[in-house]
């Protein structure tokens, strides 16, 4: 075939270039129906909204000072890049009262392959006095498979605290999984009313062994060592509390 463009061909090319945005199928089918199908196709190939609800820990905890029910869970809803993220944790002591309960509502944005940046608010329903915080943090996967969640909190009293959590999963078998976990809380300054001293407080090192009957359903047992340090520990001891100690835990990890 000749490669020398003839006048009609040039005309055709100009027309075709002008109609660049046109989709070939529009010549055969209703353009409106095609536009609808096209947008559905694109949305349906990469822009889906997904979600997760996970109770990382739903457990009964016992030590020499008493028993407690402890929960920690998260949930998200959104696309690959933008998610609405909820986090909650708390403790229900001795079947009497809720000792601690917090809720975070966050916007989470994927900023790199393994990390999301999260920002939003946190409210502590317990203990009293109740505190609200602004939150900025990051959550993701560090090299060597450490799950990390680190956040800074600015309370309505102007106090700054930080929380760093990290977890690791060790497969003993395909279903038996050992999970070490470390949580560190730091305060930039004391918040006496809330019982927080400057420095390290409420720090936990834990080990849980779960069995995944299904990926979504895994009962576990574990040990938890934790407590307060420095100024916070002094405050606790002044109130005849025990600053540090071991607990035995048993519970479920569930997700949907």
């Amino acid at each position: 075939m000749s490669r020398i463009p003839t006048l009609p061909t040039i005309g055709l090319v100009l027309f075709a270039v002008g109609a660049d945005a046109q989709n070939a199928a529009d010549a055969f089918y209703d353009a409106q129906a095609m536009a609808t199908a096209r947008s559905k196709l694109q949305e349906g190939h990469g822009n889906q909204v997904n979600s997760l609800i996970i109770a990382e820990r739903l457990e009964y905890s016992t030590n020499d000072t008493g028993d407690a029910v402890v929960w920690e869970g998260q949930g998200w809803l959104g696309t690959d890049r933008n998610k609405f993220w909820v986090k909650t944790e708390g403790e229900y002591v001795d079947g009497e009262e809720i000792d601690e309960a917090e809720l975070q509502l966050l916007y989470s944005r994927a900023v790199s392959a393994f990390w999301d940046v999260q920002a939003g608010i946190r409210h502590d329903f317990e203990p009293t006095p109740r505190r609200s915080h602004l939150v900025i943090g990051t959550q993701g996967l560090a090299p060597y498979w450490f799950e990390v969640d680190a956040a800074l909190f600015l309370s309505d009293e102007g106090k700054v605290t930080a929380r760093i959590e990290t977890e690791y999963e060790l497969s003993l078998t395909q279903r038996l999984i050992l999970q070490p976990r470390l949580e560190i809380n730091l305060a930039a300054s004391a918040d006496e009313e809330a019982g927080i001293g400057k420095g390290l407080f409420d720090t936990v090192a834990e080990l849980r062994l779960r069995y995944e009957f299904r990926r979504e359903f895994a009962p576990y047992i574990g040990v938890s060592w934790g407590g307060d340090f420095g100024d916070t520990a002094d405050m606790v001891q002044r109130q005849d509390g025990k600053a540090r100690g071991f607990s035995i835990v048993a519970g479920f990890r569930l997700w949907y």
């Binding site: 075939m1 490669r3 463009p5 061909t9 055709l12 090319v13 075709a16 270039v17 989709n23 070939a24 199928a25 055969f28 089918y29 209703d30 129906a33 095609m34 609808t36 199908a37 096209r38 947008s39 559905k40 196709l41 694109q42 949305e43 349906g44 190939h45 990469g46 822009n47 889906q48 997904n50 979600s51 997760l52 690959d80 890049r81 994927a110 900023v111 790199s112 392959a113 393994f114 996967l141 090299p143 060597y144 498979w145 060790l170 497969s171 003993l172 078998t173 395909q174 279903r175 990926r215 997700w255």
Partner: protein, 611 residues
């Protein structure tokens, strides 16, 4: 009158007896689809009525609900004739849109059946009429291109008889359609992958395996290996995203327990038309005791090549001729992660079975799959017989007949072309210049292949150390001269990208949902499409409407395929003649990868190539 009634009663009795008999039969002989023993009952002719509806099928004794064509799993075998014009009236009896895409068939783009690309889709209650002439022969298949219906059973085989006598004519033939069935809702499967990408992987490396590796390779080596993978946050056991943990692998709609059986008379030549209609599963296929003579790949004839095992990527087809003796054989199709298998029996008489081989141990990915350090992996593919007759053996490839002058005459004045660059095979095995990555990165992209190499001559993962013959792509040589032997005038490079942790899949780091423009081909041009796999997974890449010539060598007999599996860490090329004006889908044929965004539109426009 009496007679008629009597006959009716007899038939009734027979029918009841038939049901009883069916239940009494061993599983291999039981059939929900009448496909046992005689093969599938084909629908032949020029006009076909197909109905897509929610229906169920019994799989290994358990009822599964799906989206089936004419209530059959797989959909009916269609037998067409080259040169005919076929009419297919497809009625949608679902509550959602559906479609049928004719995989590998060369046809006007508006008949290709991809909603949003070639047509608007088929609405509930609507009958859409496909009509197109058949310009080719061979083994193909068809499936839904709507949502995840393909995972639900909306797929079937199709065969086009050649107009001229088939040189590979045999005494008997069977379609062997491989697929993966889940009793879960496919949308739930996808959702789980987004929540927990390793949800279906029950072959993770464990502490026990660490101790075993320490014993075998030394503690330092075992630790180093874990640190290397941990540093990259990649998992060497990530072979298949969706596994036998949810899948039952089927042959012609029958699970391993159902044991689909094909009968033959000893001495007959039997043609097996393999089609991988899976959503996500790549299979390694063998029939212990029987050499397999591959005569067709993706519907088109190849110079017969004998092998003992071949890998079949999703959407690929291979026609294989076997000559069984008077005994039973097991047809074994292991999923490439070795967590499950599909199995059938070939036997001279009903009821015969052969031993089912045990699943071989799970392979792990290597540094080479990461395209990091192929030099150190050299030993793993040394000794392949394929290396001997590999891509650099020009004599075997008809190089002598080739006229370079003639091949270059149509370069369209592209003076910038570098012959070495145009022939990536010549680089194989040597460290190339570091791979450029001029594409989007960000949250959807982990791992950039630093030194991707051509791996067309290599055996697929897990088959490197088998001591029998294994088919590699460079074993395939087209029987007929390629219809267009011009050198490409233009090269396009496209990267296969992903982030397994977020279950994101894309081309060039851009999901289909984020794409503004199609990939443009100009009518009549020859394009070399170079694919760089930055991911750790093999991807069966499929272009609608036009065949790829897989650049295995310089010859005019390159294998022509509609789907090509690009290995992890690989850089390979296909040549395309852009002769089919219109919009065409181009995607990874792993269904959930496509669903996650690993898709583009290729638009062949009736314009001149811009200078």
């Amino acid at each position: 009158m009496n007679f008629t009634r009597r006959k009716f009663l007899q038939q009734g009795t027979f029918a009841v007896a038939g049901v009883g008999l069916n239940l009494a039969l061993p599983p291999w002989a039981r059939s929900g689809t009448a496909s046992n023993l005689t093969g599938m009952r084909p629908l032949a002719g020029k006009v076909f009525d197909l109905s897509v509806a929610a229906a169920s099928s019994i799989i290994d004794g358990r009822r599964g609900h799906g989206v089936l064509v004419n209530e059959q799993l797989p959909a009916p075998l269609l037998r067409w004739r080259e040169g005919d014009t076929v009419t297919l009236r497809v009625t949608n009896r679902l509550e959602v849109d559906t479609s049928i895409h004719w995989h590998g068939i060369l046809l006007p783009f508006q008949m290709d059946g991809v909603p949003g690309v070639s047509f608007p889709g088929i609405s509930p209650g609507e009958t859409f009429v496909y009509e197109f002439p058949l310009q080719q022969a061979g083994t193909y298949w068809y499936h839904s291109h709507s949502g995840l219906q393909e995972q639900s059973g909306h797929y079937g085989p199709l065969i086009i008889e050649p107009r001229e006598a088939d040189p590979d004519s045999v005494e008997r033939e069977y379609v062997i359609l491989l697929s993966d069935w889940t009793f879960e809702d496919p949308h739930r499967v996808f959702a789980k992958l987004k929540k927990m990408p390793d949800n279906y992987n029950f072959q993770q490396r464990t502490v026990q395996e660490f101790f075993r590796d320490s014993r075998e390779d030394g503690l330092a080596s075992a630790v180093d290996d874990r640190l290397m993978w941990g540093d990259k946050r990649m998992n060497p056991t990530d072979i298949a995203d969706v596994t036998g943990a949810t899948y039952t692998y089927l042959i012609n709609g029958h699970g391993p327990k159902d044991n689909w059986t094909g009968l033959f008379k000893p001495g007959e030549r039997v043609r097996l038309r393999f089609i991988n209609a899976s959503a996500m599963s790549i299979f390694n296929v063998r029939i212990p005791g029987l050499p397999l003579s591959v005569v067709q790949a993706d519907g088109l004839p190849v110079v017969p090549v004998e092998t003992d095992e071949f890998q079949i990527g999703v959407a690929e087809t291979f026609d294989v001729i076997v000559k069984p003796d008077d005994r039973a054989y097991t047809l074994m199709a292991e999923s490439n992660d070795r967590y499950g298998y599909a199995r059938a029996t070939l036997a001279p008489r009903e009821g015969m079975v052969a031993p089912v081989p045990e699943l071989r141990s799970r392979p792990t990915l290597t540094m080479k799959d990461m395209a990091m350090d192929h030099g150190s992996m050299g030993s793993s593919d040394a000794g392949h017989e394929s290396m001997d007759g590999g891509p650099v053996d020009h004599a075997a490839m008809g190089h002598g007949k080739m006229d370079h002058g003639a091949m270059n005459h149509d370069l369209m004045g592209n003076g910038t072309m570098d012959h070495a660059a145009m022939n990536p095979v010549s680089n194989h095995g040597r460290a190339a210049a570091p791979q450029a990555h001029d594409h989007v990165k960000g949250p959807g992209v982990v791992g950039l292949a630093a030194n991707p190499v051509n791996r067309l001559h290599e055996r697929p993962l897990g088959l490197q150390d088998e001591d029998h013959r294994v088919l590699v792509y460079t074993d395939l040589r087209a029987r007929d001269c390629n219809p267009d032997v011009r050198m490409p005038g233009r090269e396009l490079e496209l990267h296969l990208t992903s982030n397994m942790e977020r279950y994101m899949w894309s081309f060039d780091g851009v999901k289909f949902s984020e794409v503004d423009e199609p990939i443009k081909f100009y009518k009549g041009e020859r394009v070399r499409l170079t694919l760089v796999n930055d991911t750790m997974m093999p991807h069966p890449i499929h272009l609608h409407g036009m065949f790829f010539e897989v650049v295995t060598n310089d010859s005019e007999f390159k294998p022509r395929k509609h789907t090509i599996v690009v290995k992890p860490g690989e850089k390979m090329s296909v040549d395309i003649t852009a002769d089919a004006v219109g919009d065409w889908a181009f995607h990874c044929h792993l269904l959930y990868h496509m669903h996650a965004g690993m898709m583009r539109v290729v638009s062949v426009v009736d314009e001149l190539v811009p200078v």
